[in-house]
């Protein structure tokens, strides 16, 4: 059976260093950090008091959600997801119309880790005070895991599959691959895909308790997120959302849509928490298999990859990730592709990381550049034993890019790798 080719026709992004595609594109090219100090975290005795939170005004919210939708609304992740999703939809050339006909050709897979954690807190406090009757009607829709897909699906009137996936920090990359599969197999013409994350103390506290976030940069927030650096000391939490309109090539050409890039394929798998893999550490063999299987699925050779957009969280695992890429691709030293990682600018956006980082990867292909890594002027010596220093891009690089590989890895020992290609007939 002839499988559909899948292309990207719309992008949307809400990131700590840029809300909206133009602001984000400018920020990643100039290496602008979105990490700031948060007094609230300090007041609550967090070790890590810095983080990446998108800046959104009350007026901006009203461009996306109605006053009624915003009544009793307290879910950052759903807000970011709706903004990115609606932006991507419009960017692809579609309208947002509350009275539109049901669109049975388009589905939605929008991932999340938790939903509406601040709203959940409000609800828990009320329940514990015996005031369950005083919670109002909006707790369930904001705190159910699929809150974001329920909001967006209704705003856009989508009639194909509408769901939420969740696989920790792999979530965003997985959503893209799930949407890709559905179009490839002819079950939908278009899929709006992406992921979003809540922010703040209740979502980040668990990581702070694990001591996996840096506590060394409370006075220098912009220098805090240091992937690949010898002085990396843990990740910096971030939040936001990224969204994509995926579409069959046939549908995109029919309506003369502008095409950002093609999704060539990819793979998701798990290390099963075996062979060195645990709840929180990757099984290296499974990571490598995820990458090699992604290449096979995309029908490309390792040598075809021009640039890698890494997961690279700024923990002790960065060197292991680079080692896994060199093993999986059979490329090292000067033969290694260019590599960068958005987390140096936005922190680790957790379930939203994969989608926000994929937006950056796709912009690179569309506009033919590699964005700079910041905060790695002192590259970790273990990494320099594996790949050449010049492959770690630290100044905006304008270069010809055909194929970019993006990987994400998550707690539970889960992996995802997607292959994007600049579009050509």
């Amino acid at each position: 059976m002839n499988k559909n080719r899948v292309v990207i026709t719309g992008l949307g992004v809400v990131a700590p260093n840029g809300v909206g595609l133009d602001a984000f594109s400018e920020a990643i090219k100039t290496g602008t950090s979105g990490i700031t100090f948060h007094q609230k975290l300090k007041d609550l005795n967090f070790s890590c008091c810095i983080g990446g939170i998108p800046q959104i005004s009350e007026e901006k919210k009203l461009e996306y959600l109605s006053p009624l939708q915003l009544r009793g609304f307290n879910s950052a992740g759903i807000l970011y997801g709706c903004m990115a999703g609606i932006d991507a939809w419009k960017d692809a050339g579609f309208e947002v119309d509350a009275n539109s006909d049901l669109d049975t050709d388009t589905g939605l897979i929008f991932g999340a880790g938790t939903s509406g954690i601040e709203k959940f807190r409000e609800a828990i406090l009320k329940v514990d005070k015996g005031q369950v009757k005083r919670m109002g009607s909006t707790v369930v829709v904001q705190t159910m895991a699929s809150g974001i897909s329920a909001f967006l699906g209704g705003i856009l009137g989508l009639g194909n599959q509408v769901t939420t996936n969740s696989s920790a920090c792999t979530t965003g990359t997985e959503a893209i691959l799930m949407g890709y599969e559905r179009i490839k197999n002819g079950q939908a013409k278009r899929m709006l895909v992406g992921s979003c994350s809540d922010d703040g103390p209740y979502i980040w506290g668990g990581f702070d308790a694990m001591r996996v976030m840096t506590y060394k940069h409370n006075d220098s927030p912009e220098a805090g997120s240091r992937p690949m650096s010898a002085t990396a000391s843990g990740f910096v939490p971030g939040s936001g959302a990224g969204a994509f309109v995926l579409e069959s090539l046939e549908s995109a050409l029919e309506r003369n849509a502008s095409i950002y890039a093609e999704v060539l394929g990819g793979n998701v798998n798990s290390g099963g928490q075996r062979n060195g893999g645990t709840m929180t550490a990757p099984n290296a063999e499974a990571v490598q298999r995820c990458i090699t299987d992604a290449l096979k699925n995309a029908k490309i050779a390792a040598q075809d990859i021009d640039a890698i957009n890494g997961h690279l969280t700024a923990t002790s695992k960065d060197s292991l990730e680079i080692a896994n890429w060199t093993q999986a691709l059979g490329r090292s030293g000067n033969d290694f592709p260019y590599i960068n990682c958005l987390k140096s600018m936005v922190g680790h956006c957790l379930p939203a990381a994969g989608s926000i980082e994929c937006v950056a990867a796709v912009l690179q292909l569309k506009e033919q550049f590699v964005f700079p890594n910041i905060n790695c002027e002192d590259i970790h010596p273990e990494i320099l034993e594996l790949i050449s220093e010049e492959k770690i891009v630290r100044e905006l690089l304008k270069t010809k890019l055909e194929i970019v590989a993006k990987a994400s890895f998550g707690f539970g020992d889960v992996n995802g790798c997607v292959i994007f290609k600049s579009y050509s007939e």
């Binding site: 006053p67 009624l68 009544r71 009793g72 109002g136 009607s137």
Partner: protein
């Protein structure tokens, strides 16, 4: 409180939930929250919480079930205020 005062307070309370603005302008004792004002049935709960806050009363489940139109809402509010 006069009847007109009560209606005008109820009108202000339901306004954020109303999806038919014209019907809101014509709101009277005979207006139904769902069929006339097109309030989402899930939001009726929020209307009742706002009524509780406005008049500083508590409305129990069986009264709540009856509060689907202006007339019933007025009767229940008046009854609760009289009890105080």
């Amino acid at each position: 409180m006069t009847k007109d005062e009560l209606i005008s307070k109820l009108k202000a309370i339901v306004k954020p939930y109303v999806q038919d603005e014209e019907a809101l302008e014509k709101l009277s004792e005979d207006t139904d929250f769902i069929s006339d004002l097109k309030i989402n049935s899930a939001n009726l709960v929020d209307v009742i919480l706002d009524v509780e806050d406005e008049f500083d009363i508590r409305i129990e489940n069986d009264d709540m079930e009856k509060m689907t139109n202006v007339k019933a809402a007025m009767a229940i509010v008046n009854e609760k205020l009289a009890e105080e």
